[in-house]
């Protein structure tokens, strides 16, 4: 006997199907079904994207814009500062303002506006319209187009005027130098705001369970790969349930430093219009990642975590190690003491060299600002010890001055007892070793990015393409750089 499906049943089935799609999507929270972290740590969820700009967890797009904050002084100059950080950071910033107003009595009001979604584009639009903020948060990677187009004030003259040798020595050499791009007329495009450095995060519980020794300062990439393979677990169907390592090789701001420690380059040091990632050394570095990701299945593919921040997924158990920035308080919020974990320096490369992205997160002054002196005072304040200390206490982020860094680890561990065993001293050691730093820049970085990002996706995200493909890509980049691509 057959039963015909009534029209009403068909309609209901359709509605139920759509409803279940929504419910299933809303209930998905990760591979292990664990709850995700709170706070501002989710990266913008973008499948197959390799163009993440910031080397920091950025806020996911939200429907409700965050509120601006303001601080009142007694002067008559109003400053507008576009801030790209969390609410906690903004509140801490405001709390320091009374002291700032003492240093800058002419300032009457500082408005801190959190960066809106698509803020880089809106910044361009506001510059065109003549309404850009006096001071805006930024990092070096995004600055060349603004500097080339004369939109950023060169603060070197202010530095020469206001800083003594002892002040300059308080900044980290590498970061201080990375705020100048020699091929852009040696303009000092900003002042440091905080520093982020890539380290390896590892879960001690998963290392113990797999019987793998904890990483050490002198470990190598062979040790790294070997540990990642041992830490990888699969279920009976062969599906990976725990990846040994997460390293965002598909990301524009992270792919470049492995070729460096293999002895190669991404840009020819003698000619910034020439791609250099087709050398044997660079290809070997790419192959290290490709093999670990696709052959050994020990390095996570962005699809598994929907390209979200490792911070969101590290606590779920899908990752035993992750190579990412240093966000102590955010990690403590996410992990909540549920397991032991720690930071370690990323391993040296086959050449014995160590290199990772160390960011130039800072503030820049818009050239069109009508209150440049006051804007400079604000930038100087942000890079100053008092402000840095307040930020350390509020966010745990690594400060930009040696004098504050000396207290940073203690303050962080006192504020968050769970961080006592997190090996925070790696950040202090990294500054002493001086290995973090900025990428190698092409003459037209955006033109190169437009070609390289799809190639990274082809090899690492989609898979099935050998790293020799980068030889062809390097030629395309060089051609675009030399011919002046649009």
């Amino acid at each position: 006997m057959t039963r015909n499906l009534s029209r009403r049943a068909l309609m209901a089935l359709g509605v139920a199907g759509a409803g279940s799609v929504l419910l299933a999507a809303c209930s998905s929270s990760g591979s292990s079904g664990s709850s995700s972290s709170s706070g501002q740590s989710a990266a913008k969820p973008t499948a197959a994207s390799a163009s993440s700009g910031a080397a920091q967890p950025t806020a996911a797009p939200t429907a409700t814009p965050r509120a601006s904050l303001s601080a009142q002084g007694k002067g008559n100059v109003d400053l507008f500062w576009q801030v790209s950080q969390s609410d906690a950071w903004m509140k801490a910033s405001v709390s320091t303002m009374p002291a700032f107003f003492t240093n800058a009595p002419s300032v009457g009001n500082v408005t801190l506006q959190p960066t809106p979604g698509d803020w880089e584009n809106k910044l361009v639009a506001s510059m065109v319209a003549g309404t850009a903020p006096d001071v805006f948060d930024m990092w070096g990677d995004i600055m060349p187009p603004f500097v080339e187009r004369g939109q950023v004030e060169d603060v070197q003259s202010y530095v020469n005027r206001d800083y003594k040798a002892a002040d300059l020595a308080d900044f980290y050499d590498w970061q201080w130098h990375d705020f100048v791009m020699p091929w852009l007329n040696n303009i000092r495009f900003g002042m440091p705001r905080y520093v982020n450095i890539m380290f390896t995060w590892y879960r001690k519980d998963l290392f113990d369970a797999a019987g793998v020794k904890y990483p050490t300062t002198d470990w190598t990439h062979d040790d790294y790969a070997s540990a990642a393979i041992k830490l990888t677990k699969k279920d009976s169907s062969g599906r990976v349930t725990q990846y040994g390592l997460g390293y965002p090789v598909w990301s524009w701001d992270r792919y470049w430093y492995k070729p460096t420690i293999w002895g190669g380059h991404t840009v020819d040091p003698q000619d910034n219009t020439k791609a250099a990632f087709d050398s044997e050394q660079s290809l070997a570095a790419f192959e290290w990642s490709r093999k670990l990701m696709w052959d050994d299945k020990a390095m996570i593919n962005p699809l598994t975590i929907q390209n979200e921040s490792f911070l969101l997924h590290f606590p779920t158990g899908i990752l035993a190690m992750a190579e990412d920035g240093i966000y102590p308080f955010e990690m403590d919020d996410a992990i909540q003491g549920k397991f032991e974990w720690a930071y370690q320096h990323t391993p040296k490369g086959p050449t014995g060299q160590r290199k990772v992205l160390g960011t130039t997160d800072g503030t820049a002054m818009w050239k069109g600002s009508k209150h440049k002196d006051e804007a400079w005072e604000l930038q100087k304040w942000v890079a100053g010890p008092e402000y840095q200390l307040a930020i350390v206490k509020a966010t745990g982020r690594v400060p930009v001055r040696h004098s504050v860094l000396n207290q940073w680890a203690d303050i962080a561990a006192q504020t968050r007892p769970n961080l006592k065993n997190a090996n925070l001293k790696v950040a202090i050691e990294a500054m002493q070793m001086g290995y973090p730093g900025a990428r190698e820049f092409y003459k037209d970085n955006n033109a190169a990015q437009e070609i390289i990002v799809p190639a990274l996706q082809k090899v690492f995200v989609s898979g099935g393409t050998p790293v020799s493909y980068f030889k062809q890509v390097a030629q395309q980049v060089t051609q675009a750089e030399k011919n002046g691509a649009r």
């Binding site: 509605v15 999507a25 809303c26 082809k458």
Partner: protein, 313 residues
């Protein structure tokens, strides 16, 4: 004097008397005036400026150099992504539009039946159309997550492996096309209105003549629905060629440019590479492409669109 004035006044009023047609015309203009004002004040100027800009090398900040047709020449002769974006956008349009048309019409036909809870079904089917594009994109990213999304559950239940969807060059575009079907509620509503405007006497006459349901649908319903189909197809073609949000939110054009649409290319060239003049030229080429296909559909409409009481040429 005063008497003369009293006589002349009504005559003057009679002179300004508007015909019914003129009143309707004025009312029509009144009703569309908000849009006309919006268009003239906020859109027309920028549209013309973008045309102007397309003949310049401009970053909108420092450079403004007249280069004639060079942007267009570069686009056709040197732009490595132009053909790819044209291909992606065309595939998206020519698959999404017919499928959306058939799907939304089918749902409308079903919802036009005399069902219990009809109002609830109509509301539920329309509801996805009111969800913002960004929210829809985020939801579908999880639905189509190939390891543990709903897609994986369904494929696993069938003993198959889920496609990698947005992480695969082959499946990313089909994934985006599938998402586009989520918003068929708007089309469905228009089809429903079209179905309800079909005179019942036509349907009854056909049934009395012995036509079965399929015959009634093919010979009465479908022809009478063609003005609505025409309207929807035109709007969908225009909208599909301009697809941006899902590609921007979900894939940013990847992997390996497999979902790089023309509008996304415009966006990248303008806001990421600071080539606003060049981006404007791409936008105008897209406008020509859309215009071409829209005119093609308009031109063909004489052959397949039936208006009640209309005379076939």
């Amino acid at each position: 004097m005063s008497t003369t004035q009293k006589v002349e006044a009504p005559a003057a009023r009679r002179g300004r008397h508007l015909s019914q047609r003129q009143v309707e015309g004025l009312l029509g203009l009144l009703f569309v005036s908000p849009y006309i004002v919006h268009f003239v004040v906020l859109q027309a100027g920028t549209i013309l400026y973008s045309l102007f800009l397309s003949f310049f090398e401009s970053d909108m900040l420092t450079t403004m150099k007249f280069i004639g047709l060079d942007n267009y020449r570069y686009l056709f002769e040197n732009e490595p992504l132009f053909l790819q974006t044209l291909k992606v956008t065309a595939i998206y349009t020519f698959v999404a539009v017919p499928v959306a048309t058939i799907l939304s019409m089918s749902i409308a036909v079903l919802l036009n039946q005399n069902l219990r809870y009809q109002g609830i079904f109509r509301t539920l089917y329309y509801m996805p159309a009111v969800v913002s594009g960004v929210a829809v994109a985020l939801v579908w990213m999880w639905v189509l997550q190939p390891d543990y999304g709903l897609s994986a559950v369904i494929f696993n239940a069938l003993g198959m492996q889920s496609p990698r969807w947005f992480w695969s060059e082959q499946w990313a575009l089909p994934g985006l096309i599938m998402i586009s079907l989520w918003g068929t509620g708007t089309n469905m509503l228009l089809y429903l209105a079209g179905l309800q405007a079909i005179p019942t006497q036509l349907l009854e006459a056909a049934r009395i003549d012995g036509a079965n349901a399929i015959r009634v649908f093919l010979n009465i319903t479908l022809p009478m629905l063609t003005p609505t189909i025409f309207f929807n197809v035109i709007l969908n073609i225009i909208g599909s060629f301009q697809v941006f949000v899902p590609a921007y939110i979900i894939t940013q054009g990847g992997p390996n440019n497999a979902t790089l649409t023309m509008v996304l290319l415009v966006y990248q060239k303008a806001f990421q590479n600071f080539h606003f003049g060049y981006a404007s030229s791409i936008a105008w080429v897209l406008f020509i492409v859309i215009l071409f296909f829209s005119l093609l559909v308009f031109h063909s409409s004489d052959r397949w669109v039936y208006y009640e009481g209309g005379v076939r040429r």
